[in-house]
Subunit: 211 residues, 2 copies
């Protein structure tokens, strides 16, 4: 690719959004970031990866306190050395890492409010993947090999965590189509179908940029 | 086309969703329904088209009363002869017309909660078109040739009317990606870009149905 291309993928749990993102990254020959960002945050701060893992994509409950004390402001770099909840520290460090990756290279970034963090860039395609409950339950059980008593309850819990995280840090609504350039139903299209439509989208954007 | 194909299009005001729908219908050689459904409702009931036009895609304020009196139930045919607000009458009659069109032929239907009304069918593709405010303001002023003092306020007002209508009659959230198979940003893609991606989507679904 000549032009830089950054793709962010938001996804309902079990929709296959991560797998779709990985396939797109492999086909385009660009980097793929998901949990890798936690490792990078741990390395950057010298803090434990396990501690960050626990609060990954989880909203803190004291952002208002942080704002009130002037320790944190949306969009501005604030040193994570101040006494913030670990969730907020991770969000701030992840934001810096995501911005730095986007400055450096074409890539696919999954989750972590990357669409919002990179909202001022013009070279970003924001995608959201969702699917019906039955498709997602089957994927979680068969492919992710997760065994829980109440699969639907588990899906709802993870989705709730993701939406709370997104809504909390962005002030927007997770999964609201207006926040994304392209939203796809992987239950109707399948994983490869989604990959094909995203490829068509990239081609279309490339053509319109040339004209 | 061998298989029947019904496409519903929800759209933010000024996003070009209607124009995109018309282009798709023309290219596929299938029928297109937008305001035509009001004419059909007027003919069916012998009531005035102008009266229906006034309450088109506008929620009534007394649905709870209607439910309480047993005059209206979601998903079931209820005679519009009973004393319902005109909005509810129009919704019920439009629902019957939309179901009857979908039984008869391939088509594109714009707005009017068609995605929800046809939710039990498998041959429907539900699409939502949105765009940034600047793109929509420009389209409303330049192409729709609408002259108002406060274009942004006008956009917000029509969007509010459409979302209230949709949320009221469906119990779902207008523009929430989970309600649609495909959501596109016409500000980023352009009108023809959206048409091309929808064509790719139809082709992809056709291929996966064959395999």
């Amino acid at each position: 690719m000549n032009q830089k291309l950054i793709i962010t993928i938001g996804r309902q749990y079990g929709s296959g959004g991560r797998i779709i993102g990985k396939k797109i990254a492999d086909e385009l020959g660009i980097s793929f970031y998901n949990k890798e960002i936690i490792e990078m945050a741990a390395k950057k701060t010298g803090m434990s990866e396990e501690a960050f893992e626990k609060v990954d994509e989880t909203a803190a409950s004291s952002l208002l306190y942080s704002i009130a004390t002037g320790a944190y402001m949306f969009g501005n770099y604030v040193s994570p050395q101040v006494d913030l909840p670990l969730n907020d520290k991770l969000f701030i460090i992840q934001s810096e890492i995501i911005k730095s990756i986007a400055n450096k290279e074409s890539c696919v970034i999954v989750g972590r409010c990357a669409d919002y963090i990179l909202k001022d860039r013009k070279d970003v395609i924001n995608i959201f993947i969702h699917a019906d409950k039955e498709t997602r339950k089957a994927r979680v059980t068969d492919e992710y090999n997760i065994s829980v008593n109440n699969v639907e309850g588990y899906l709802n819990k993870i989705d709730k965590k993701r939406s709370t995280y997104y809504n909390y840090y962005t002030g927007e609504k997770w999964g609201n189509s207006a926040n994304y350039h392209l939203c796809l139903d992987s239950g109707a299209l399948g994983i490869d179908g989604c990959v094909h439509i995203i490829e068509s989208y990239i081609k279309e954007i490339g053509n319109s940029n040339k004209s």
